[in-house]
Amino acid sequence: MAAGSMVGRTLSDRLILVAVIVLGIVMVAPIVWALGLSLKTNAELMVDTSSVLHAPYTLQNYWDLVIGSPVFRWFVNSMIVSLGMTIGVLVLSSLAGYGFARLEFPGRDIIFVLVLFGLAVPEQAVIIPRHQLFSELGLHNTYIGLILPGLSTSFGVFLMTQYFRAIPREVDEAAMLDNATRFQVFWRVLLPMTLPAQATLGIYTFLHAWNDYWWPLISGTNAQMYTVTVGIASTQINFAESAGLGFLMAQAIFAALPILIVYVFFQKYIVRAVSGGAT
């Protein structure tokens, strides 16, 4: 009986396995190809790109990157913007989430619904007036200007409100009987209990900020203010007359590496954050 079902399963199991492996190869092929290109000299690639498949390999492109590329500057910019946005979102969302979940003030429920409505407003729909506003305030090509729009998304407020609401009110009441002030209840009792949600929201925000292309492209037009994401794009625009395929790929690999390394270590949290962000 058990053996029979095993035999029945092997064929379809094998087909599924083959399909998954083929898809897996499709998944990694572009990255492997890019890695191969990045390890070749330009001269060799000009002659024949299939030389990627065999030695000699060289780290010359990466060395060129280290000595003569603005990519480090972009990296620092990305770090400042992403960290700034993450901290800002965590602070604002925690405060507002606590406010909406626990405090009462005139119009609370209506205001909350209006904030939720923000989830349906795509960034692209408000880009023109937002761009004008930042021009008037002189915020283009500043870190503040790159960070601020990310702080206006409703998602974090929504997530934290839900999380605070799930904490039993008994805990607040116990703290009140323990002579905690309202701020102490928030800061020392409830906020530490939301750490899992903070981690999810923090990773989600950081990744979005790091990978965002739309707003930094429009606001950070000065090459000194490029983030990595925009910087990599700027080298792509003149793809044809660029420093060569190998160098370009070295740049892509170099930019992808930190995120991929972080991903390997924090895969569980990142998957949860990204999936949680969608639903």
Partner: protein
């Protein structure tokens, strides 16, 4: 001296009253249990004492000082919550000392109180653990410890045993009784479990429909229930009720049961209001099965519950009324037997059939 005074307190949520003109005094070192079905207002009243609910009308005084406008922390009370409400990110020690640190008590004094409470509750080995790392019963002890270290004059317990399994519940019940012996404080304990109420309380406050039905010692509440509600709520099995007619001349009345049989009582006719409608209330332990024709009435056995030390016999009278009687543990009565029932007149209560209050009793 009264530790707690509740004077004409009312509270309204929207249109509905949740506490309706309640007054109560709790003495120093007294153990009072609020007993009632869910939704009767007992938890709301407790939370009003704690300061977690506002008081719309009336006054609350603790230790002679009016507190109904004070924040919870300033009332000098400590509370143990139904689900413990421990702070999950703090160790047991931090949980217990959080309230003391908030009022800037000297660290040495905090350590002394935490150590003493931990010793009393036998949780010294858990002080460095987090709530998630200890069992439900241990969490319960930590919650009690968090209350003890405040050295309050009034402890409030909000159904603290309802999350424990049966064996642990009995043990913790005993421990709370012992705790009360050791600390110099009054305790108020909310429960819907009459056994907890009977075993713990000096006085029971029975509540129903946002009001107090009766305040009395456990035996008063059991043996002389002030209302039909109390009579029905306290005691297992539930008291038997049956509408009766008053007949017979003075000095004592005779009751006509629904099946037509007569029951002589020792109730003075003059003690009853004229023209009232009454119902009989009698506990199973005051009704004994006997041979047919020997008792006050008779019927057939519908059901038999054997509890070991005693046997409950459900007897169907000819008119359809069911009376539960108590027999010895080794009773030979079986389903469909014909039996007589003998009422112990000392255990007979008469209740006003309309308003439910206790009108008279047999003895």
């Amino acid at each position: 001296m009264a530790e707690l005074e509740i004077i004409n307190v009312s509270k309204t949520f929207g249109q509905s009253k949740v506490i309706d003109n309640v007054s109560l005094t709790v003495g120093a070192k007294e153990f009072v249990v609020f007993l009632g079905p869910s939704g009767c207002g007992k938890s709301t009243l407790l939370r009003m004492i704690a300061g977690l609910e506002t008081v719309d009308e009336g006054e609350i005084r603790i230790g002679g000082k009016r507190v109904d406008a004070l924040p919870p922390g300033e009332r000098g009370v400590a509370m143990v919550f139904q689900h413990y409400a421990l702070y999950p990110h703090m160790t047991v020690r931090e949980n217990m000392s959080f309230g003391l640190r908030n009022v800037k008590i000297a660290p040495a004094e905090i350590d002394r109180r935490v150590a003493a409470a931990a010793k009393m509750l036998e949780i010294e080995h858990l002080l460095q653990r987090k709530p998630a790392q200890i069992s439900g019963g241990q969490r319960q002890r930590v919650a009690i410890g968090r209350a003890i270290v405040k050295e309050p004059h009034l402890f409030l317990f909000d159904e603290p045993l309802s999350n424990l399994d049966a064996a642990l519940r009995v043990r913790t019940r005993l421990e709370i009784a012992q705790l009360h012996q050791r600390v110099d404080a009054a305790m108020i304990f909310v429960t819907h479990d009459q056994i907890e109420a009977m075993t713990l309380a000096h006085r029971i406050v029975v509540m129903n429909n946002q009001r107090i039905e009766q305040i009395g010692t456990p035996m008063e509440v059991y043996s002389r229930p002030a209302t039909a509600f109390v009579a029905g709520f306290v005691g297992t099995p539930c008291m038997n009720f049956a509408p009766v007619e008053i007949t017979g001349a003075s000095p004592f009345v005779t009751l006509r049961l629904p099946d037509g049989s007569m029951l002589e009582t020792r109730v003075d006719r003059k003690a009853l209001p004229e023209g009232g409608r009454f119902k009989l209330g009698v506990r199973a332990e005051s009704v004994r099965p006997c041979a047919t024709g020997e008792g006050n009435c008779s019927g057939t056995v519908k059901f038999v519950e054997r509890l070991g030390d005693r046997t409950l016999v459900y007897v169907l009278l000819s008119d359809g009324t069911t009376i539960v009687a108590e027999d010895a543990g080794m009773s030979r009565i079986a389903i469909a037997d014909a039996v007589g029932l003998r009422f112990d007149s000392a255990g007979v209560h008469l209740f006003d059939d309309v308003r439910g209050y206790h009108a008279a009793e047999g003895a």
